[in-house]
Symmetry: C2
Subunit: 396 residues, 2 copies
């Protein structure tokens, strides 16, 4: 059975060219980039070349604005705690949204609970969009950071980032965005966006798991999260993960080169997927903004049944999808994103995220559209909710 | 020209078997271990198998005591800040030593400067050993953590860890050790050592740069450093670096299998190196304990000249060594380790660390012993200090 992966928002395979680029740095060029001898100089050059490439691809003013981390979660923790701790004597206040990834929400909750930081969690509309006016209204004299994600991982909704950045700038407040789901999918220009801090994760764009970046606009003051050696200009201690750094630069390069065509191709596949589902299955709902959305992400509620049940059945047929963030799967809590969007609990429970990517083909979608209606039908036939629904229809 | 690497304490190449073990997890098995579908289950199994292997190799009671991090620096920051923040409302006190790696010293300095944590930096004797009595005497009612490294990275001196652990245990104080330079070189049994927290770094033992472990003895309470998803049982958020985790387990396995023979072989080479230098070059001094020392590490002061000059000349001849920690190279400060050991500044300036490893051969040492005396002679011939010395000898 051919297995079909439709969970690219959870993680991606490493691109063959990325792997090729990394390979020499495991065995042949292995010096510590901090060493002054030739072994160290070789890897130092590799790291700095990668930094320059990534800076260029993000529109950063200076390569030194790129700080390598071990993952998107570290980048988010670094940004949020770094700013909060730098302002810890001020009883500070952070503004974020209710639909952020846990890698933003949990550091905020931690700061709030353990360090008395005041946090505002902004609501979103039914499409999952933060209202810039809400941002403006929430600002107080104590506000030191606004952190709003670029695109949501569960539903793909894109936020009005430039507008929010403008508000932050006017008030001289640092603006961070978790762009983990966006980098590699949409061209990014940090200057145009107007962000001060931006988080990247390698494994969402065909680089390996275990590498990230925090873009730090020149002049932005924050505490390091990892103290130690003077790596990354004293902003992130720890011997550089040279192979993955080289790999991440390669992955960014590949993504940018193919972005338009790849986006168009994937969008067509998603449209086919959604059209097919809407035609073939009744009582379904697409979650997220219909237009302002990552072209690869489709979050669909199948009423009267459980998302987990759909996933398990799909898995038996070789399909991988998810109910929400991989990072919270296994927990039985309903999606905080869909809840914040006002999706009622019974629809939240029945939601599935399909996220398409580089290796997704039209055949995959065809096969899914053949199998999924049968799965939904079978699960509904066993669902007491569905039975109630049918009975009430007969009554009406 | 064949290049000869004698800087294994700075970093090591990835062992070919480690690379082989990692390879399937880049392209073929790439699921997010948190995903519930089969792609995720494959990598979850790989992560948990690795965790179990490492737990066994360290003598841990339970695999869940192994928490994967991105490097030794992260492990140290996690341990130290994790304990301090868990006790932050108590005006807490930490005991460490003056010769720790910066990945321990800098988090302590940070906590002290920014969070009012009281830190005692214990002195060492001229061999670089902490006196357990000093530990005992420094304990106060506020002491929440003792952090003493297992072996020093610059001189290789081993600490009386079990004695210190016993003192900590008697007083019910958490004991952390930075074992980054030891794991892979000496068999480790965390229970026998009596430590509560122990830091490991992959790239010191032929796994890649960018993976580490913090061993956390069951029941040890500390704050996470990275908040987010529920990875690592809520102790370290961030998608697991599956290939490197698999690689680290393999590296630990290989190290333990060959440890005795490899240690004997390397010790003989180091003895040859030190004997040769003492015979061929006058005014030299071996730093660190003559017996209680990592068998691969040799730190030697060459009087009247600069270590940096020796390194540069060695580099031109294809040899890689270092003056101290790679993490602080480039800074012009004298080694804090040698200073704490009471080595006078002029000898500290002239010190070089040779650290031997898996690929070091007798021929390499022969070649070094051929070249090094010439380098030292040439540098001394240009050194005003040397000239003074010679003049004073004539006068005497």
């Amino acid at each position: 059975m051919k297995k079909i992966y439709l969970d690219y928002n959870a993680t991606t395979p490493v691109h063959p060219e990325v792997l090729d680029a990394m390979m020499p740095y495991f065995k042949d060029f292995y010096g510590n980039p901090s060493s002054v001898h030739s072994f160290g100089q070789e890897t130092r050059k590799a790291v700095e070349d990668a930094r320059e490439k990534i800076a260029n691809l993000l529109g950063a003013e200076n390569p030194s604005e790129i700080v390598f981390t071990s993952c998107g979660t570290e980048s988010n923790n670094f940004a949020i705690k770094g700013i909060a701790f730098d302002n810890k004597d001020k009883n500070c206040h952070i503004i974020t949204s209710a639909i952020e990834h846990h890698a933003v929400l949990k550091p905020c909750e931690y700061l709030s609970k353990k360090f008395g930081v005041d946090v505002t969690y902004l609501p979103v509309d039914k499409c999952g969009i933060v209202n810039p006016d809400d941002v403006k209204k929430s600002i107080t004299e104590k506000t030191v950071l606004i952190s709003i994600m670029y695109a949501n991982n569960e539903v793909g909704t894109l936020q009005p980032l430039e507008e929010i950045a403008k508000i932050a700038k006017e008030k001289n407040i640092i603006f961070h965005t978790d762009a983990v789901q966006v980098v590699g999918k949409i061209p990014i220009d940090v200057k145009k966006l107007g962000v001060d801090l931006l988080s990247i994760s390698g494994h969402k764009l065909y680089a390996p798991k275990g590498i990230g970046v925090l873009y730090i606009k020149k002049g932005t003051k924050l505490h390091p999260l990892l103290h130690g050696g003077s790596h990354e200009k004293n902003r992130r201690a720890g011997t550089e993960n040279v192979p993955y750094i080289v790999g991440l630069a390669k992955a960014c390069e590949i993504a940018l080169k193919n972005m338009k065509d790849e986006n168009d191709r994937i969008l067509k596949l998603r449209q086919k997927l959604e059209k097919g589902i809407l035609e073939k299955i009744e009582y379904v709902q697409i979650n997220g903004h219909i237009m302002k959305r990552l072209s690869n992400t489709s979050n669909i509620s199948f009423n009267f049944i459980e998302g987990e049940g759909i996933l398990m059945s799909l898995d038996l047929d070789g399909f991988a999808a998810s109910t929400g963030s991989a990072c919270t799967s296994g927990t039985l809590e309903p999606s905080h994103v869909l809840s914040a969007m006002g999706v009622p609990p019974e629809k939240t429970q029945g939601s599935v995220r399909f996220s398409l990517g580089h290796y997704t083909t039209e055949k995959d979608i065809d096969k899914l559209l053949e199998i999924l209606p049968k799965i939904v039908e079978r699960l509904r036939s066993m669902s007491p909710l569905w039975e109630d629904k049918k009975r009430s229809e007969i009554r009406d």
